[in-house]
């Protein structure tokens, strides 16, 4: 259930100066969109989406942000981490269809695994990969077929990934849009999809302690559903029932913080 298994790092790849991908040896058996808790003894344990998975290895792609990710960035091939999971809900996969994926910054991580699976299912995948600046764009080489956008025009289109989605969705006519990134971005993705009557799934981030549905730290108002269990992947329809979506989240202590 929540048991921690120990996995060895096979390799560490620099994605950008702020982002690394860690490849672990082992068969995780996750579905795209699910996450694991990564534990470094003596430091902390944090949730991360799976960014790639094969039968005998899986990737976790990480943006350096705080104490834990700084410690993780010091790890090398051969080092070990304690990993529990996979946990949570996953993206709904379709076959032989046109779909669109909208990623923002390190939100591309779980979408990487999703895109691989969609392509295996012979879907035509349109990828919008946006970030503030080129150093925050993940998987530039892995998905060369992406439409890149940056706020400062250092890569691809200048502006938001959502601008491209809005301009192209009518003509593209996808059966599903998948998104992960800043909540404000996902809110816009949901609005665009609702207007165009296209189903959409987003991957939420809320502060997590246990990761498996016991502590209650990651619940969203007013339904009280847990983003580690009933999430992180939820439908655009469900976000409409979550008043806190795009408005506020709760910090480590449980106190409300506005976006």
């Amino acid at each position: 259930m929540s048991e921690i298994k120990v996995y060895k790092i096979r390799k560490v790849k620099d994605e950008t100066p702020f982002m690394k991908t860690f490849t672990f040896v082992g068969d995780l058996g996750a579905k795209p969109g699910q996450f694991v808790m990564v534990w470094i003894p003596g430091v902390d344990q944090k949730p991360f989406g799976i960014s790639r998975q094969t039968k005998n290895e899986f990737d976790v792609s990480v943006l350096v942000r705080g104490k834990f990710t700084k410690a993780m960035f010091k790890l090398e091939a051969g080092d070990k981490c304690g990993i529990s999971g996979p946990f949570g809900t996953s993206f709904s996969l379709v076959k032989n269809k046109k779909v669109a994926v909208v990623g923002g910054g390190c939100g591309m991580a779980p979408l990487g695994f999703l895109i691989d699976e969609l392509k295996k299912n012979k879907c035509k995948v349109t990828i919008y990969n946006g970030a503030r600046s080129i150093d925050n764009v993940m998987f530039v080489n892995r998905f060369k077929d992406s439409q890149f956008c940056t706020g400062d025009a250092t890569l691809g289109h200048e502006g938001y990934a959502t601008d491209l989605l809005e301009g192209q969705i009518g003509k593209l006519n996808p059966v599903m849009v998948y998104s992960c990134g800043p909540e404000m971005m996902m809110q816009v993705v949901c609005e665009i999809c609702s207007e165009n009557k296209v189903p959409c799934e987003v991957s939420m981030e809320r502060y997590m302690k246990c990761g498996f549905g016991v502590c209650g730290q990651c619940v969203m108002d007013p339904l009280g559903i847990r983003m580690c269990t009933e999430g992180p992947v939820i439908s655009c329809e469900l976000t409409k029932k979550l008043a806190e979506f795009g408005n506020y989240y709760r910090d480590k202590s449980g106190k409300k913080v506005n976006f």
Partner: protein, 302 residues
Amino acid sequence: MTTVKFLNKQFNGPLVLASGVLGVNASSWGNVNKHGAGGITIKSCSLQPREGHPNPTMTGTKHYFINAVGLSNPGVEEVVKEVEVFRKTNKTPLIGSVFAGCVEDFGKCAKALAESAVDFIEIDISCPNVKHEFGEPYAFSPDATKKITAEVRKQVKKPIIIKLSADAPDIVAVGKAAEKAGADALCAINTMSGMAINAEMAAPVLSNVQGGVSGPAIKPMALKAVWDLYENVKIPIIGTGGVTYGVDAIEMLMAGASLVGVGSAVYFRKIDAFKLINEEIEDFMKKNNYKTIKSMIGAAHK
């Protein structure tokens, strides 16, 4: 059939959410209530917000669950706001739980929370996971328990429940001290001190090293504590510790509990635990011809 009265308050079923599980805010309490909890114990709060310990804070196996969250909470002021939100749509009994680092702060925090629409105040004097900060739990000492209970009694008119520890050398002495100092009820037991080690990492799992053990592993200790308290105090008891299936709840009632706390069953049987345990209790009652919950309370004491 399973309604039960506790300190003059009607509960829709004998199961109450134990403090610390799924208890951060109003929407979560509502969700737990929807899933079958007859009452909700709010996660313990303090005067000031607390972030708690780093992760891992919780882990479990088939036999036990263990946590050292470190009493994270947004502070009593925020919890009072959450109680207001809850009460707009829900009348389910709420047990507000407080903890503090000194006698005076227990009184202040309890008073602040009692001004909200909670029905009861639970005093958590038995958390095993904050020893570095607060020293030995007060619940190890009848004298300390008496002082805290008396102080809270002075500050609060609402019914007070004292949460006890089976790690105490003499839980009956502590229970009696609480009763004498004005407690209206007892809750037994809190989690018990323990730890978990990951052999491959050669490291303790919990960042706090030590944690509180709950789940099936502690049921026998919880039953014994409730049994002994029932024989020695007159005030009602909320029996908590390892209740995972309906039969566990029945045993807890028969040992002398008037309500049954359910916490880590949410880990073992997911959030449906309350609904499942309720159904199993009703099945047992039908098969064994018990018409009321009340008729089972203390039934094993002959």
